[in-house]
């Protein structure tokens, strides 16, 4: 619609929703600032103990110090790397396994109960085992990241593949296509939106798995920093690490969101 011939009532409506949007953003920011201010004041006025609860200024100080000695980059970088590697492996293994199950329905029926059990198992229970089996190194931490996300991925994608409209599959056969054509022309392109939404969940799950892995068997990384900081009562480290994890989680999610936008534009 053209801006010139917008009616008065419609303009008023547009203004109203614009104002509402601005209000929401403003209050969001205000809540954050107020929270930080309250936290800082509470520590300064000694309503709570800054040694245990830390404070925004102490977190910033810690951050600045670790920035200066570069250790923050090492910890954040290693966690980020482990998360990305396990995420990529989850997508590859998950998609591959789901395709295999779709291709062989008997296999999928055989494996279904195992997948369901593995998916509902709290994966943190596996982490200590992985450390013992694979050693206290990056391998076992990546494996922990994978273990959290991979079973859900397989189940979700397989359900998506199997839920394809049978008439769309019939169409391919009426055009003299083979099962391979069904896969490449219908199943895969048809489940890209599902794959993206599964990826959105998984990137967060991988981060969870990696941090659990680092809790138990790492010498560096944000998970290590959290567990070590809590043991030596350096709670500034702990809270700063949590803040960085928040930022990483947001960033990774935004990354997938960007990929989604790119895909939609390409269509």
């Amino acid at each position: 619609m053209n801006k010139r011939n917008v009616s008065v009532s419609h303009q008023a409506y547009l203004d109203r929703i614009a104002r509402r949007q601005r209000r929401i953003v403003l209050i969001r920011i205000l809540v954050f600032v107020l929270f930080l201010a309250l936290w800082e004041t509470a520590v300064r006025k000694e309503w709570i103990d800054g040694f245990i609860f830390s404070s925004p200024s102490r977190v910033l100080e810690t951050f600045a110090r670790m920035w200066a000695d570069r250790s923050i980059f090492r910890h954040t970088g290693i966690t980020l790397l482990e998360t990305l590697v396990s995420f990529i492996l989850v997508v590859l293994i998950g998609t591959g396994s789901a395709l295999l199950l779709w291709y062989n329905t008997e296999l999928s029926e055989i494996l279904e109960p195992y997948l369901v059990v593995l998916n509902s198992l709290p994966k943190s229970a596996l982490a200590p085992l992985l450390i013992v089996w694979l050693g206290a190194n990056m391998k076992s931490i990546i494996a922990a990241g994978i273990s959290v996300a991979v079973f859900g991925t397989i189940l979700n994608l397989y359900t998506g593949f199997a839920g394809t409209d049978p008439d769309e599959i019939k169409l391919i056969y009426t055009l003299k296509g083979t099962k391979k054509d069904v896969l490449t022309k219908v199943i895969i392109p048809g489940t890209v939106p599902l794959l993206i939404s599964v990826m959105k969940v998984n990137i967060g799950l991988c981060l969870v798995g990696v941090v659990i892995g680092e809790f138990i068997g790492a010498k560096q990384g944000l998970g290590y920093l959290i567990i070590y900081g809590s043991q030596v009562f350096k709670l500034d480290w702990v809270i700063m690490s949590i803040v960085i994890l928040c930022v990483i989680a947001m960033g990774l999610y935004a990354l997938i969101g960007r990929a989604e936008k790119l895909y939609q534009k390409k269509r």
Binding site: D167, L171, I172, L175, G177, G190
Partner: protein, 254 residues
């Protein structure tokens, strides 16, 4: 020699709950260039009949021959239009229309020209690069028909291809499809439960019984004035006569 010939064809589905007899002892022939409509009570096995002819499933008993051969499945293209158009949203209209050619690795200059020509003739040329969702219901159905015709099929099977459309669109798409098939000189078998659709489009109507579908009657449809479109036929004097005849035939045994 008839183009299509069915001889004592029977078929039953198996499921855990037992065996369902869908088609029982059906025989008929279709001449080249004919338009056949198949009608009958809903769920009587009309669609199964098309799946059998297309070769997607094989009959338990009986033979189906195309051009005198029962081994036609690998060698002949049979066009099959389903109830919904199933145009894929992740492909442009053009890429949807050439899907069959792509699958059969037959997309070359000639076939591309043929397809573009059809898109032009049937008013879809300027939507070649559009997404299917940008087309109207009637245009989508025309695109689906072009996708079927792109493979230059000897025989066209239409499985209630208009049932998902609203009434008005349906009438005009009926006209479109009839004129396209006439121009391309195609033989077609249309399954429909809409009696007026059958009477206005077909040269012959096969009336099937309740499940398992048996052939109850074959009705020849002749209009005095030749070359009428389905819509014009609807207001011709013979239309009502055939409609009533068909109606009585279908309700006689129920």
């Amino acid at each position: 020699m008839p183009l299509l010939e069915l001889e004592h064809v029977s078929y039953s589905y198996h499921s855990r709950n037992g065996e369902t007899y869908a088609v029982s002892d059906i025989s008929f022939q279709v001449e080249k260039g004919e338009f056949i409509a198949v009608t009958g009570p809903s769920g009587c096995g009309k669609s199964t009949l098309l799946s059998l002819i297309s070769g997607l499933i094989a009959p338990n008993e009986g033979v189906i021959r195309l051009n005198g051969s029962s081994q036609y499945k690998e060698t002949t293209n049979i066009g099959y239009m389903l109830q919904k158009d199933h145009l894929f949203e992740w492909r442009s209209v053009y890429r949807n229309v050439v899907l069959g050619l792509e699958i059969q690795h037959r997309l070359c200059e000639d076939t591309d020209a043929h397809v573009r020509n059809m898109l032009e003739t049937y008013g879809l040329a300027k939507f070649s690069d559009a997404r299917p969702s940008e087309l109207s219901g009637g245009m989508r159905q025309r695109a689906a028909l072009i996708r079927t015709l792109a493979l230059d099929p000897e025989l066209l099977l239409l499985d209630e291809p208009f049932s998902a459309l609203d009434f008005q669109t349906r009438l005009s798409v009926c006209d479109d499809v009839a004129s396209i098939l006439q121009r391309e000189k195609k033989t077609a078998v249309l399954v429909t439960h809409d009696l007026s659709e059958a009477v206005s489009m077909a040269d012959r109507i096969l009336v099937l019984s309740d499940r398992p579908a048996r052939l109850r009657r074959i009705l020849d449809i002749r209009y005095d004035k030749p070359g009428m479109s389905p819509l014009e036929k609807r207001s011709a004097p013979e239309f009502q006569k055939y409609f009533n005849l068909l109606w009585k035939e279908l309700n006689a045994h129920e």
